[in-house]
Symmetry: C2
Subunit: 300 residues, 2 copies
């Protein structure tokens, strides 16, 4: 089995003086002062990606992006990642590492350590730490109050639509294909939302409907949706139940201020799609029950 240092040989930068990245038992890193945020996520071939439709590099990208998305979803910035590769004989972990390294560069979150293990199926587990700047609290999913408006950083369902299109042998619209193969984390958006006083936040990793139920459960509120922002090429069902869009859902008492903060930061303005209510049993979309359906993480 190749060592993690070989796997990342070409894609690693040099650590700052005093830091130690891949090559020793553990990595030594320095972080700015602030509270630490930790998250981990795994991407498994056949569950999170069909390797006949997307590449090993895409699987690596998805694993690290899902993890940094979790860090962004509390309003923090990712700092450093470590990855475990599970790789059957005959599979080149360098292809996985290429996608991980591209995501690491995209999200400014260097991979500083890891492990390569023989296994029967391809899996990538990515853990990362991040820093929560300043003194304010993190933006948790439990912070929403009745009356807060619900906004999302972008339309949803593109990843599920991309998978459906790829299965049908199609490559258009390219935005949906890219959303499935190379989903984006909303790091800057999460930081701006926290600075703008977001009350609650989470990333849409398992599907809007089930993730909203989780936010409502954690906050003890109801959710009343008047619309569902649907991505180009996607259906409303995909927007509600498809996972891995990684857009951020934000509950805010001041939606106009949130939009202004996004625009001031040069970010696409978030889309308002509903509100929180005092009746925690109330979970509706256009007056009908919002089903608790979500991405099952099983492809096939």
């Amino acid at each position: 089995m190749r060592r993690i240092a070989e796997v990342f040989e070409r894609s690693l930068g040099l650590p700052p003086d005093g830091d130690v990245w891949i090559g020793d038992d553990a990595a030594i890193v320095s972080v700015p002062r602030g509270r630490l945020v930790i998250a981990t996520d795994a991407a498994v071939a056949g569950v999170h990606a069909d390797l006949s439709l997307t590449g090993l590099d895409d699987l690596g990208w998805k694993a690290l992006t899902a993890t940094v998305s979790d860090i962004g979803a509390v309003g923090a910035r990712p700092s450093y990642a470590v990855v475990d590769f599970c790789v059957p004989p005959g599979i080149d972990p360098v292809l996985l590492a290429t996608g991980v390294a591209e995501a690491a560069a995209e999200w400014a979150c260097p991979v500083v350590g890891g492990d390569v293990t023989t296994a029967q199926e391809v899996a990538v587990s990515a853990a990362a730490i991040g820093v929560l700047e300043g003194e304010g609290p993190p933006v948790l999913r439990s912070g929403a109050s009745p009356g807060d408006r619900l906004l999302v950083t972008g339309p949803l369902g593109a990843s599920a639509a991309g998978l459906r299109l790829l299965r049908a042998g199609l490559r258009e619209p390219a935005s949906a294909i890219a959303a499935h193969a190379r989903p984006l984390a909303r790091i800057a958006e999460g930081v701006v939302a926290r600075d703008a006083g977001a009350a609650a936040m989470m990333d849409v990793s398992d599907g809007l409907a089930i993730d909203l139920h989780r936010l409502a459960d954690a906050s003890g509120v109801g959710v009343v949706l008047h619309t569902v922002p649907v991505a180009p090429g996607a259906t409303e069902e995909e927007a509600l139940g498809g996972g891995e869009d990684f857009e951020l859902v934000v509950a805010s008492p001041d939606p106009a201020g949130l939009v202004d903060a996004f625009v001031a930061a040069g970010l696409r303005p978030p889309i308002e799609f509903g509100r929180c209510s005092a009746d925690r049993a109330e979970r509706t979309l256009r007056g009908r029950p919002l089903e608790r359906s979500g991405f099952e993480h099983v492809i096939g």
Copy 2:
């Protein structure tokens, strides 16, 4: 698929005020001042454990213990861990979590987040952060100099011997069985060795022979062994080539001082077994070549 919060429902303590553990997108933790240390390791059924011989809980224990061992091997203490479980349908992740939680309690390294994913084979990936106290450097594998003595925190080969005994249907000696099912990390030993001026250190995870070659390669020295400390019930071959003993190999310019520091801390004194030489091509055991053999991480 069950959520990580359910999986750890019974075994998690309560976070300190202001911290957030399992249940949100990411965990928020506070660490004492000091540099951070990060490591990750995976344990895969059929590779790191034969589930017909040891339990799911043992696999979970081994994953977290391997990771905290890496943190200890630079002289740091583990602080917090996150885990990814890959679990086929019909396997209860709570059994895995039980072993992880027992290891977390043993190594004072709470599990603060994680993920449960459907997969075809059982795997546990554990990442952890730790803190390197004080101002001194970490103890890397690259720090050894010619003349340094080589010591190890305990005799080796017990894990490999335990696997051999279990395969033969035997349960004795119990120390070897336990060393295979529930290996120990040498956290206190690593901290004491760093305080006592250890020049280089690493944990024996893949086997003494291959790990010594790595230490020698990283340090640019040769290694001359006069003996191999063999655990009760193990063979010298198992001590040299068996992995997952997790004892620490230490290169020290002052072996007597190192032993004194261990005794003063109430720890078993480390065993001297060789020295580093200036000829980096010199890799010998009792005058014969030290083969670069190690644990292949494939059981079967």
